[in-house]
């Protein structure tokens, strides 16, 4: 399996705060990598650094062999990286259709992928002309993920998809992400270890802005001591 994304000793400052102090990461193509760590460890900052929303001060972000440092966010996105942020960030005043349409780079992308999207998220077909603000939290999350699928993204950065959702909805979202495996690579930030352990193939553990551990998810799930030490109660 080839490495589609690699972070090498990434340092990012926000103002004068040294948030990322050396993050190393390697994501294999077609896999689901979970970024684990406590609150404030720097997981969201890592995602945003990859996207160029916060430019790293040191280190490299390599995507498909190309260095992304210094590129503006929209160019990074165009290379095939989709983003599903923590707060869902769908456009509430736009309809579901418009939310999906805006993600197109070329005419016809949405049309080509509509079928797949409706298969993954049948609700969206029913609500196609509804304004985003009227959807429930779970449906908005589906929309946010669907939107990232419209353009032919080979890497999806998903930040805490289960946040604020009822358990049954979490199941739905998890199922959707599981099905993505065939289509695209996923880098997932997830606080909920139960969800993370069932979704991820691999994990990278971040503490205080640094990578402290990485490996196969199966191994981590088996190691209770490690989980307890870095994540507190699972």
């Amino acid at each position: 399996m080839s490495t589609i994304l690699e972070l090498q000793d990434l340092h990012t400052f926000i103002g004068q705060y040294h948030i990322l102090q050396g993050v190393d990461l390697a994501v294999g193509e077609g896999s689901v990598m979970v970024l684990l760590g406590r609150n404030g460890a720097g997981k969201t900052t890592t995602l945003r650094s990859i996207l160029g929303l916060w430019q790293p001060a040191r280190g490299r972000v390599v995507f498909r062999g190309q260095v992304l440092n210094g590129c503006p966010p929209h160019e990074i996105a165009r290379r095939g990286i989709g983003y599903v942020p923590e707060y869902r960030a769908i456009f509430r005043q736009l309809t579901v259709e418009e939310n999906l349409k805006i993600a197109e780079w070329r005419k016809g992308q949405l049309a080509a992928r509509k079928k797949m999207i409706f298969e993954l998220f049948p609700d969206l077909e029913k609500l196609y002309y509804w304004p985003g603000g009227q959807l429930s939290g779970g449906q908005q999350q589906m929309l946010a993920i669907a939107r990232a699928l419209v353009a032919e993204n080979s890497l999806l950065l998903i930040d805490e998809p289960s946040e604020g959702l009822a358990p049954v909805l979490i199941e739905q979202v998890m199922e959707a992400i599981r099905q993505l495996r065939g289509h695209t690579t996923v880098l997932l930030v997830e606080q909920n270890f139960r969800v993370a352990s069932r979704l991820g193939d691999f994990y990278t553990l971040i503490e205080d802005g640094r990578t402290v551990h990485s490996g196969r998810m199966a191994d981590l799930a088996a190691d209770q001591a490690l989980v307890q030490r870095y994540l507190g109660a699972a």
């Binding site: 400052f13 926000i14 916060w54 001060a57």
Partner: protein
């Protein structure tokens, strides 16, 4: 209830507290001595100290007087400079001089200016002539500087963007003038009434509008000022206000700038000093630190338990009163008022002066005001030629102003004092700067 909020603007007091009274005493001595000598040297026969001072002061050139002032200035400058090298932090004279020395020097220079100019141009301080003329330029600069200080208090220190400052300025001018013209009030009650009305207006505006979001508040002030302007201009109240042409009124002799300009000069200077010291003392006090905190991050100040509303109101009201004081002076100077004093000119000017001098600094507005006024005067006859295109600077001063605006905002947002301070800091702390630069992202 002192929160630990850093306050980089003000200088910290090391050693015993600074003593403004010492400064006042020093200045009093420096000023009184020459005046006494002038009185003694007068050749007038009339009895009374005042008449003697008057005669001595008005003597052609007043050479010895000017020389004395100059000598005092040199001594003061030397003493202040020496105070920086006097290592001992506990010596109260050294501390006071370090804190207030340059201030006292500038003040002394301004006090002595009429005489120095008279000496230089060999004219009299009391009668038509070069020195007399320059006094009026300085008086205008004083008034504008006071206005700029009041604006800086609201905008630079409290962080409240307001487009309606001219309303207070004009309100002061119109109130004092109308009261003296139509109701025939004597000077002092009229002035006090004008200041009171501005105080109430400031309170009204704050109470009514401060709760709305900053941007809308700015628009509110713009509207507010516009209403005043329309009211002043309209023909319905023309009998009272004189509509577009404004009105004139009689001013007591002693303050009549056409005859007793020197008195007016010192009055305006006194007002400027009051404004300056008031704002400076305020910002160095605990209340000032709170204002500073509010400007930097209002939410944080709120969460620390401060009633930001009350503090901002205080800043706006005080700024309004000071601005109307400047307006009162302006009306007394011109012996009249017209809608022009309510126009946007008097919101733009203090804003620009504050920007040029340095927003949120003590000396910035004053420097900006003086610079602008002097430059405008100096260049009023100059002409720029671009190919076949001639541009008289005096006529198109507004164009220069607008261009300056843009330049400052893009290139020198901290103004003169700010840029100087940053440059000074970067020279003294290069290591810290490099570290900060390394930590900064794009």
């Amino acid at each position: 209830m002192t929160a630990t909020i850093t306050h980089p603007g003000a200088r910290s007091t090391t050693g015993p507290a600074a003593r403004p009274l010492t400064l006042a005493g020093l200045l009093a001595v420096l000023v009184l001595i020459p005046l006494l000598l002038a009185a003694l040297s007068a050749e007038s026969e009339s009895a009374g100290l005042a008449a003697a001072v008057q005669a001595g002061v008005c003597a052609r050139g007043a050479g010895p007087l000017a020389a004395l002032f100059a000598a005092e200035a040199v001594l003061l400058a030397g003493a202040t400079a020496a105070a920086y090298f006097l290592g001992s932090r506990r010596h109260w004279a050294a501390v006071t001089l370090r804190q207030y020395g340059w201030l006292a020097l500038s003040l002394l220079a301004l006090i002595a200016a009429p005489f120095l100019i008279a000496w230089q141009t060999d004219s009299s301080v009391c009668v038509r002539g070069q020195a007399f003329f320059w006094q009026s330029i300085f008086i205008e600069a004083f008034i504008l500087a006071s206005l700029a200080i009041s604006y800086n208090l609201v905008f630079g220190f409290a962080g409240v963007l307001s487009f309606g400052h001219a309303a207070f300025f004009g309100l002061g001018a119109y109130t004092v003038g109308l009261l003296m013209l139509h109701l025939e009030w004597p000077l002092l009650p009229a002035v006090i009434a004008a200041l009171l009305i501005s105080l109430l207006t400031g309170l009204l505006v704050s109470v009514v509008a401060l709760r709305i979001h900053g941007l809308y508040f700015a628009i509110f002030t713009l509207t507010f000022a516009e209403i005043f302007y329309v009211l002043a201009q309209n023909r319905i109240m023309a009998d009272i206000t004189g509509a577009e042409d404004g009105f004139t009124f009689a001013v007591p002799d002693w303050i009549n700038a056409t005859q007793n300009r020197l008195t007016f000069y010192y009055l305006a200077l006194l007002f400027l000093v009051i404004c300056y010291l008031l704002v400076r003392q305020l910002m160095n006090s605990p209340a000032g630190r709170v204002l500073h905190a509010i400007r930097d991050n209002e939410n944080r100040a709120l969460s620390l338990g401060f009633n930001t509303f009350a503090y901002k109101t205080m800043a706006i009201v005080l700024g309004g009163v000071l601005a109307s004081g400047a307006g009162v002076l302006r009306a007394l100077l011109n012996k009249g008022a017209s809608p022009n004093v309510l126009s946007s000119t008097f919101t733009i000017d203090p804003l620009l002066m504050t920007l040029i001098g340095g927003v949120g600094t003590f000396n910035g507005p004053v420097i900006g005001a003086f610079l602008l006024r002097m430059v405008e005067y100096a260049l009023r006859d100059s002409v720029i030629t671009l190919g076949s295109f001639e541009l008289n600077i005096g006529e198109h001063w507004f164009l220069i102003l607008g261009t300056l605006f843009i330049l400052i905002v893009i290139a020198f947002p901290s103004g003169i004092t700010g840029t100087l301070r940053d440059w000074w800091r970067s020279r003294r702390q290069p290591l810290q700067k490099r570290a900060a630069a390394a930590g900064r992202d794009h």
